[in-house]
Symmetry: C2
């Protein structure tokens, strides 16, 4: 593609949609025209992008005529509109879970498996936020020696449940400080009948539970890891937990590799990997913390240490911005890769 | 001992000391006389116990003359005063880490290894809070089949760093809501030169770091587990993390057993174990959360599920009150056991 693409953002008014706009501005993502799409109730809302004001339009199949790239922020609307957009010649980069496990759809973290992008048939799926952040820490290790087993416990920010959940944490904390009752309406999952406060609390329930007693969020970490690394043998044991943090996820990870590795090699491999920073200086109390990894592009890895009992295992701690690398940034990087490789 | 014991509480003005007083009242712990001891700066402070007002006295070696049981709330003063108290005929139940790994000192969770109490030579040590809460969930499983490996990630309340840390979380949240800067002075560890906010944050640093790149808190979970279970073969992989929660710890645990177990047997064993409740009904969104396990005596276990890849492994989630079962309650239960078994 020689000319700049026509870009549509679907779900432009949500947390991820707004982040798409910020990142397009910050990263000078090129476009010849831009459409901001959302559901009917946001129609007419004005939003500025690069100093130009746009009116939000209702997202319909017809919206995608003439659009080159659709950045889909997520949600159930993807399932309906992505095929419609593709039919109209639009490449969809989709942040929902609808197409991630579809064998026709590449599931991509550009630093990890960019080559898969070329296999697309119109839709490219953006992985789940916890999977992206975990694999940013583990892929450099996997490249040294295949990872055979992962035990991961997540500490997930409320931003993963959208703008309303961010607002909910703020309101709950404010009510608590005034000595008033907290009135949860969103978390753990908006569509479920029961809601719990997240302020000063932890909720070991993200998305919905499946018949195997794991949550859908946990199973995403298993299946998506297999698909992205093209390795279905990795034993992944996930526990996913919501914590009272605004927008960066963190994860405690135990990983076993096929051969024993030394910590210096692991540290160097992570440091050299694009999009990841090693922050691991215990003497100077340097380790990743979500308050400081928020609004950053990179994921931060620290507490890198050999397991005490298994010479083929390592423990580490990673934190990254859920809305950026966990969602909008990763999707935009896929689009950037396609532009850079004349894939549009 | 036929008559009621003379009891001294050392560190009576702190978070654990105050909890000793609440529990003595709630559980009608018998005493013929009570002494509230603290450092010089709290001397003269008045505190009511069972409707009687006591003046806090300065803790010195001489304070323990005639005392039968010393409930030590923790801190470095234990190291000096515990041997002095023992010399004066007092049995010390010590919440500090000073004597936990001393081969002469039993390290006891009454539900797990009460028989060790009889081996005491004057001092009985109370384990670290994260170890107690983990073992309350794992001992019933261990009794079905020895546990060979544990990967544990903790979500630890600020109460573990004392009253000042509880106050710090409150102040930080309040500053944040007013749009003012947070001014951390306590966490992660008061004696260290750098402090980080815990509000809306996670700090993967509890206590101090050791030469092996693990924190002292993490190594406590390894060594204390071995000592309490009398099994030095268990491979424990701990990551300990402070979270913005007031007073209940939670832990995500992956455990491998010598033989494969089924979930129903594990669930029944945990349910029948004293001091633990199974809270694990996914359909009704029942699982342990620190907001609701606080101020409770029992530890709560949920999310009990077989590992997806290893038939000899189980994943679970536990939460328990850090100040109660993690500290004051466990210590008082040791004293109650000794009274019930005429060991004083």
């Amino acid at each position: 593609m020689k000319k700049k693409p026509v870009v549509a953002i679907l779900g432009a008014t949500g947390a991820v949609g707004q982040e798409f706009i910020r990142l397009i501005e910050e990263r000078k993502f090129p476009y010849s025209a831009l459409k901001l799409l959302a559901s009917a109730r946001s129609v007419g809302k004005k939003m500025a992008v690069n100093g130009v004001e746009y009116a939000v339009e209702e997202a319909t199949a017809a919206s995608f005529a003439g659009v080159d790239i659709g950045l889909f922020a997520g949600g159930s609307i993807s399932k309906v509109l992505a095929p419609e957009a593709v039919q109209r010649g639009c490449v969809v980069i989709d942040n929902s879970s609808a197409f991630r496990m579809d064998p026709q759809v590449p599931l991509v973290v550009p630093e990890v498996n960019a080559a898969d992008i070329a296999l697309h048939k119109g839709i490219i799926a953006n992985p789940n936020c916890s999977t992206i952040i975990m694999l940013m820490a583990l892929k450099p290790i996997y490249d040294l020696s295949p990872i055979t087993k992962i035990v991961v416990s997540t500490y997930q920010a409320v931003s993963g449940a959208g703008k309303e959940a961010i607002e909910e944490l703020r309101e709950e904390v404010s009510a608590y400080m005034r000595g008033e009752p907290m009135m949860p309406k969103i978390l753990p999952t908006k569509s479920l009948p029961v809601h719990y406060p997240i302020a000063f609390n932890l909720i070991p329930h993200i998305d919905v539970f499946l018949d195997n007693a794991y949550s859908k969020e946990e199973m995403k970490m298993v299946h998506e890891t297999h698909k992205i690394l093209h390795d279905h043998t990795i034993a992944v044991s996930p526990t996913t937990v919501r914590v009272p943090v605004f927008r960066s996820h963190a994860e405690a990870i135990y990983a076993e590799t096929a051969t024993a590795l030394n910590v210096e090699d692991i540290r160097n491999a992570i440091q050299q990997f694009p999009g990841v920073q090693v922050q691991d200086d215990l003497e100077h109390m340097q380790y990743p913390m979500p308050l400081y990894t928020s609004e950053k592009y990179d994921c931060y890895v620290g507490r890198i240490r050999k397991d005490l009992f298994n010479p083929k295992a390592v423990n580490l701690w990673v934190s990254g911005d859920q809305i950026r690398k966990g969602a909008a940034l990763n999707a935009l990087q896929i689009a950037e890769y396609m532009l850079a490789h004349n894939m549009l």
